[in-house]
Amino acid sequence: MRKLQSTSDMEKLRKELLRKQDSSKSCISICSGTGCHAYGSEKVVSAFENELKKQKLEGKVEIKRTGCHGFCEKGPIVVIYPEEICYLQVKIEDVKEIVSRTIKAGRIIDRLLYTDLKTGKVVHESEIPFYKNQTRLIFGNNRKIESKSIEDYIALDGYNALGKALSEMTPKKVLDEIKKANLRGRGGGGFPAGRKWESVCNAPGEPKYVIVNCDEGDPGAYMDRSLMEGNPHSVIEGLIIGAYAIGSHKGYIYVRQEYPLAVENTELAIKQAEEYGLLGKNILNSGFDFTIKIHRGAGAFVSGESSALMSAIEGKVGEPRPKYIHTSEKGLWDKPTCLNNVETWANVPFIINKGADWFKTFGTENSKGTKIFSLVGNVNNTGLVEVPMGITLREIIYNIGGGIPNGKKFKAVQNGGPSGGCIPETQLDLPVDFDELNKVGSMMGSGGMIVMDEDTCMVDIARYFVKFLSQESCGKCTPCREGLRHMLRILDNIADGKAAEEDIKRLEELSEFVKEASLCALGQTAPNPVLSTLKYFRDEYDAHLQGECPVKVCKELIQYYIDPEKCKGCGLCLNKCPTGAISGEKKGVHTIDVGKCIKCGACFEVCNFDAVSKISGKERNLKELTYN
């Protein structure tokens, strides 16, 4: 590896790399992101390596372990280039056939293709509706490059923006371009990145620090992880450019220890960039010095809060502190510090390469560019989606997500992580941008999007998130620590049918209090799931007060019941019941002893005649009467 001396040197390297790439040569690209990894993609890779050897294709066909493709529902994903044939849910058993039929004979294996309900089989990855309806600016390169190869990144114009910034632009010009692009922080707050950079730049004090926040802790969210694992150089490049604009010479990447692949790939990427002279002293002969250190997070949700994260880097407990004096003035070790989220930094090279005017063609008036969401929950196409800001929730959930599985009805979508709000169907045509989501009591957050179907109990959901947040509260400030404790207690009581109207009033009172009085954003936003479900699903809370869980989720409020009309007396439920709560003669009607029943639902699952049902509320009282 040689140290690059200038931008023209880098250009020469890029040309060399492109020359070496034979575009007619077959390439099997296998997603090695976390989702596919869990499905066993590494075994599929070894199977391909063995099979290529066996069929004497070694060296003639390239194998690439790429970052996350995003369509995690259908992993492991295998894409064969140059044709871009996309095979989904590939198993080891499929490998032999793929090599002999597709690689050797150029034939397509229908069974492994994506099936569109309207148009039938889809051969090419980019034509699958899940991908077709996205705008993959930031995330798109993930699937094209080997995550551990800096050469792949450079060949795809990687580090071009850095070269441009260092050789053609003054720091001020870089800053102006980011300001002009109106790039807003992707970590949740949506604060304009350019303005933040500028205040760090103007703040007195040296040295100045830049930080990548990759402490993604929201349940179900993994876009930062996938970007850091799949394309670490895009984040590093953005960070170096930012540091140049701000006048910082030292950067930190804060990665969760629980993301081992992200740590590994980032460490490797930093080493590679150093070897090419893209990090270190006198980068590309520009006179600009910059180094990066990785800090591994010790696993606290609250450490994603900027001041807590900085405390953690300083070696202290990750607890937030009041930010009346912004971290841009007094941050890490009380020095001016610029902290941005993974995705924010990854946007920077694109803006520098293509210009603010290009960037501004995506998005809405006040929210420019795209946003990556992790679309999870009761939705057909689970995965990571990148869309231009301003797209509606309906488009994301139905056009990209493919709607709700099993013919169920949509009920709510929770945006922005555990402290986001639950948005009902009536708000589905809302354009997704920073300001619009805030208006309905939710937030952009870091981009978690949890879809819920009609079988979801909203009281239970509010309880789940408040429980998560109360466990993750650091406990420093009284409102968050004690307020959430009692909010959870009230929600428990509501779910157990032990609450009265005044408890809901108290819950509302506590919610407002925690929101107003808490020290950091964790507490200030924690009541959102409660307030939004109270606003849009108040009837469900009221039903719980009356002893009924309308969707029959809350255990204390339901009871299992065998319909005597439907029961055939097969005895299957009797055999499955772990507590001996079911009795009945063979071919006679079976009954459940409510006293012994632990509501595990085993009988409900096994019954072939739909005789077992869940009942709640008034219905329960009636059925209990008929039992006696």
């Binding site: 502190r321 009041p322 406990g475 420093k476 009284t478 209090f513 009085a517």
Partner: protein
Amino acid sequence: MENISLKINGKNVQAKKGMTIIQAAQQAGITIPNLCHDDRLEPYGACRFCMVEIEKNGRKKLVASCCYPVENGLAVNTKTEKVENIRKMLIELLLAVSPSGSHIELAKEYGIKESRFKLESSPEAPCDLCGLCVRYCTDIKKKNAVCFVGRGVDRTVALVPGASDGCSSCRECFDVCDAGKMVYLVDMLQEISCPPLKSKFYQNL
């Protein structure tokens, strides 16, 4: 140092740049309730009793006065309805978890005799988790012998084994803490076989 003039409860107050609202108020003879503030220590902002309402450029905002730096032209109100409601709620919440904590004086002042919330601990539980002892030991004594352990509702104050060797002869944290609250630290000290304590706080218990 640059002079700053602001208004607290309608009264003109002079302060120095770099001071916090609570310091400026103290100087002007205006008391703002608090549990975790100590002029010797870095502002902490945890108990939230010192929250006040500020008005800046026509916009009202709630801030912790122990952390918020004074600014020219700032209008501070230490006793608005919102602020008082926050304090009352804080008292109720603390009464349920540390009924013998140092907030009891405030409870008397605000006329709160009992909490609407279920008691979470013994009626003698003394610690409000204000962190004065922890911060004093860490920042001033530089001993790091007293620390917080646990997260959220599991947060408690504990002595760091090994680092607390000098505790029996120091005991300065006892003076930082309002009387009675260090009772379980006393127990802990004895557990790690320190000689009997002669502190006036111990005798008062």
